[in-house]
């Protein structure tokens, strides 16, 4: 059941809220930056994220923007933590507000005695605990452009939080060096303006200090960027897509990466063109990808079924957002799973893979390409808005963990020894041999109509049954090939959580909270969602009394899929659902588990 935002959330043991005093040491801090689109809130988040990383902390950033270019409320947050968190902190210590609207919107997210740092040249903040500096006026007067107010505010925050001065400056230098000497000088000037203003106010100096972390050599990126990199090293060489939030960055990154590797990126005239270009490229022998979100996925559905029947391996990234229809383009949801599992008319096999972290996007993107090509079917790489666009720290991407295998591609020698080459040859493994068009001495016929082994259109009933069994059999025969789950928490815990995608972040945080409350809980992070991974889910479900399936949709889509495939576990499954467009905060997961375990009121 859905839980309201956690007003009664338990605090972690290292909570500092109760006895805050000057120079409180924080090991987990959250800062929200709010303003109008174009105020540069994302730049401040980026600067803070860079600083915290240099201090060895884990960083997680999220953004809340409207679907327009400029204007409208936009906020973003950055969390820095000694513990590896990939979730939004339930309450923030500091809000940097460029307008009053930001305060009203952020209020429910703020700690009881949070501080609002505001731009006093624009408005007078209405909040119990405020500190104002005229950032825009100062920047306008001394740098020449009020827009530098965001860097000035970063300077003030650096004083408030006791940042190391040299490191604070180094972040600016690294961020702006590519913009040219003038931009760098102006930003350095803005930094000094903000620092000076704060240093002149005793209430601002070293209000907090941030504990150093031990997590060095981490990289900070979004799931979309990690997936794009995974596609490059996984041998992806063709991409066609249509711009759609929150998937577009994958296309933009690949436009940068692919040309160095004989790769081609095309922006199609629509999603119909895009999916069919991907099909054409896969037919030609390229590893081909598209990325989209709900509305585009609906348009691509016919093509995905075509690829499955024609037995052409393609990869489709679905960056889920609030649906149906145009829904909320910039907001978070995980509501495409049921559609994907039963995708399209007719029956055909497909795999749905779900990375649970930014770095997992990289590895599963590469895996998806191997699986699609080997099994010659559509592989869906299922992301969600939070995973796609929120930046998180993670270990450096390891090329040695990526393999590129083409087991069904015939070598010229293998081909020379064949008597016949049949594109849809019936084999015990369900896998047919492959050579691309252009291979001397071989021609092929490929079709989305039902066909015989040669690729000739056929309505022969015996053939139809065999071909259905060939295609659908892949769902069984590929099981050992599919990415396995990840397990977290004590093995002997009797409370289980099941989730996928970006919910892994808040679930892992909730496990820690529950442990501190004396409720041991463990987590099954599903990385293959379809076919439903019965072989690993069954022992997990056997080992717990209750399993909470955590997902961002109204109907409990993954829980329903599990029930459909594994009805014996019906009674053990409970759902924790959220469908308001925002990611789970840890208390929203802790509360229903606690209630279920202690039997307290609902």
């Amino acid at each position: 059941m859905t839980t309201p935002a956690a007003q009664t959330a338990p605090q972690p043991t290292e909570s500092e809220g109760a006895q805050r005093r000057p120079s409180t040491l924080l090991s987990d801090v959250s800062i929200i930056i709010g303003g109008q689109g174009g105020d540069g809130t994302l730049t401040v988040v980026d600067l803070l994220g860079r600083y915290f990383r240099k201090r060895g902390l884990y960083v997680y950033t999220s953004r809340n923007v409207l679907s327009r270019i400029r204007g409208g409320h936009a906020d973003a947050s950055v969390r820095a933590c000694r513990a590896p968190r990939a979730s939004i902190k339930s309450k923030a210590e500091l809000l940097l507000a460029f307008d009053q609207e930001s305060i009203e919107i952020a209020k429910p997210e703020l700690d009881a005695d949070a501080l609002v740092l505001f731009d006093s040249s624009v408005f007078k903040a209405d909040f119990p605990n405020v500190l104002g500096f005229p950032f825009a006026t100062l920047a306008g007067g001394q740098v020449g452009q009020p827009i530098y107010k965001n860097t000035a505010a970063y300077g003030a925050i650096s004083v408030l939080m006791g940042f190391d001065e040299a490191l604070t400056r180094q972040v600016i230098e690294e961020r702006f060096k590519r913009r040219g000497a003038e931009a760098l000088q102006k930003n350095l000037k803005a930094l000094e303006i903000g620092r000076k203003a704060a240093l002149e106010n005793a209430a601002a100096i070293d209000r907090w200090s941030i504990a150093d972390g031990e997590a060095h050599d981490l990289i900070l990126m979004t799931g979309n960027q990690a997936a794009a990199l995974g596609f490059v090293v996984g041998g992806g060489r063709f991409f066609a897509g249509y711009p759609i939030t929150p998937a577009t960055e994958i296309m933009e990154y690949l436009m940068r990466y692919f040309p160095s590797f004989h790769g081609v990126v095309r922006q199609g005239e629509d999603e119909l063109a895009s999916i069919n270009m991907v099909i054409g490229a896969a037919y030609a022998g390229a590893r081909a990808i598209t990325s989209t979100s709900g509305p585009g996925l609906s348009l691509m559905t016919e093509g995905i079924g075509h690829a499955a029947t024609a037995e052409l391996g393609i990869v489709v990234v679905d960056c889920q957002r609030v649906g149906p229809s145009t829904g909320e383009p910039t907001r978070h949801e995980q509501s495409d799973l049921a559609h994907l599992a039963h995708l399209g008319h007719g029956e055909y096999p497909k795999f749905i893979l779900s990375p649970g972290s930014v770095e997992d996007c990289f590895y599963l993107a590469a895996d998806a390409l191997n699986l699609a090509e080997k099994w010659r079917l559509p592989v869906i790489l299922l992301l969600d808005q939070a995973l796609s666009q929120n930046a998180a720290t993670g270990p450096a991407l390891d090329l040695d963990r990526v393999t590129v295998a083409r087991p069904r591609h015939l070598t010229p020698e293998q081909l020379a020894h064949l008597e016949t080459f049949k594109y849809y040859e019936l084999t015990a493994s369900g896998l047919s041999p492959f050579v691309p068009p252009g291979t001397p001495g071989v021609t092929s016929q490929v079709t989305g109509n039902e066909h015989d082994e040669w690729g000739h259109v056929s309505v022969n009933p015996v053939n139809r049954a065999k071909m259905m069994q060939k295609r659908m059999g892949k769902l069984v025969q590929a099981r050992d090939d599919l990415p396995g789950p990840r397990y977290f928490g004590p093995a002997d815990a009797r409370v289980g959580l099941i989730g996928f995608g970006s919910t892994s972040g808040p679930i892992l945080e909730a496990l820690d909270w529950l442990e501190q409350e004396g409720i041991p809980a463990k987590y099954y992070q599903a990385r293959t969602l379809f076919p439903v991974p019965e072989a690993t889910l069954a022992p997990f479900l056997d080992s717990v009394d209750t399993a909470f399936v955590v997902e961002h949709n109204f109907t409990g889509q993954f829980a329903r899929l599990i029930r459909e495939e594994m009805p014996a576990y019906h009674a053990k499954l409970r759902s924790i659902l959220k469908y308001d467009g925002f990611s789970f905060r840890a208390p929203e997961l802790v509360e229903p588990v606690r209630e279920a375990v202690h039997g307290t009121k609902r």
């Binding site: 990466y257 004989h262 099909i279 390229a286 068009p437 001397p440």
Partner: protein, 291 residues
């Protein structure tokens, strides 16, 4: 030598206009000495789209209306292939209209061959985008693909042929395919190909076709002149056929079709070595750049 797929016998009605196209396409491929394994025919959905089964060639049978998107990508993935997209007027001008327009914009060196019979033959004779007013209750204006193509600024080769004149058609298809093989860009050919079962226009069209190449003022490099000749021919109740645009050879980057712009070294995505070892240094550099 390995035995691979062989062409099947045609499923078309006896006397179908598409037989003329099949014969001309076979001849053109032989004349140009294109080995079967180097050519891909992307077929649409409809009677005409089955043509890939009847030729000794690689065949990719696309979704209804999507053959151009698939064909464009085949060429971009491997620019060494000769790629022909072939389908009907319903496939190309109704459900596939978006791709029809954008194909000129993309300018990839493939041939798009539309067999226009002014009806939906496979579903038994409904009005198509090119049907005349009155056919099966049609009250919409017929779509004219050649006038549309002439009005789009592009370097495409354009022609209209008639199945009743296979000799001219063979010459046009040969020229169009060679145009593609020289990487000069997109070629679009509409063939008037009567449906003898639901819209038998052979006799009528034979009387009405006028080859614009024989008209005074014809200049295949001047699209406005050809456009005018087409309009004048149609005003007289006739049907203009012939080479409608034969772009002059232009040197320089602007003249390059998409595959050469995207793949300056002529190695397509399908031909790239994607092994980790072959790319290790570049991959490491890329991954380090994002750290």
């Amino acid at each position: 030598m390995v035995q691979s797929v062989k062409p099947t016998a045609s499923t078309w009605c006896p006397g179908c206009g598409d037989f003329g196209v099949l014969a001309a396409a076979k001849k053109a491929l032989v004349e140009l000495k294109i080995p079967p394994h180097e050519a891909v025919l992307v077929g649409g959905i409809g009677c005409s789209g089955g043509i890939h089964n009847f030729l000794e060639i690689n065949g990719l049978h696309a979704l209804h209306g999507r053959l151009l998107a698939q064909a464009v990508a085949v060429k971009l993935a491997n620019p060494k292939l000769t790629v022909i997209a072939a389908g009907g007027d319903g496939d190309g001008y109704a459900i596939g209209m978006g791709h029809f327009m954008h194909a000129f914009k993309k300018n990839v060196s493939i041939l798009y061959l539309v067999m226009n019979n002014e009806t939906y033959g496979l579903t038994k004779g409904q009005a198509s985008p090119t049907s005349r007013v009155g056919y099966e209750g049609n009250v919409e204006q017929p779509f004219d693909a050649i006038l549309t193509a002439l009005s789009i600024p592009s370097g495409a080769y354009l022609a209209r042929t008639f199945s009743g004149d296979p000799k001219t058609m063979t010459a046009v298809l040969s020229e169009a395919i060679q145009f593609n093989r020289d990487h000069r860009g997109y070629a679009f050919v509409e063939d008037l190909s009567p449906c003898v079962t639901y819209n038998d226009t052979f006799k009528e069209w034979r009387e009405k076709v006028v080859n614009v190449e024989k008209l005074p003022g014809y200049d295949p490099t001047d699209r406005s002149a050809v456009f005018r000749l087409c309009l004048e021919t149609m005003r007289d109740g006739k049907i203009p056929i012939g080479v409608m645009h034969r772009p002059p050879r232009v040197d320089g980057a602007d003249a390059n079709p998409l595959e050469l712009k995207l793949l300056p070294d002529h190695v397509g995505p399908a031909e790239a070595d994607i092994g980790i070892e072959a790319n290790r240094v570049a991959y490491q550099k890329l991954l380090q750049s994002v750290a």
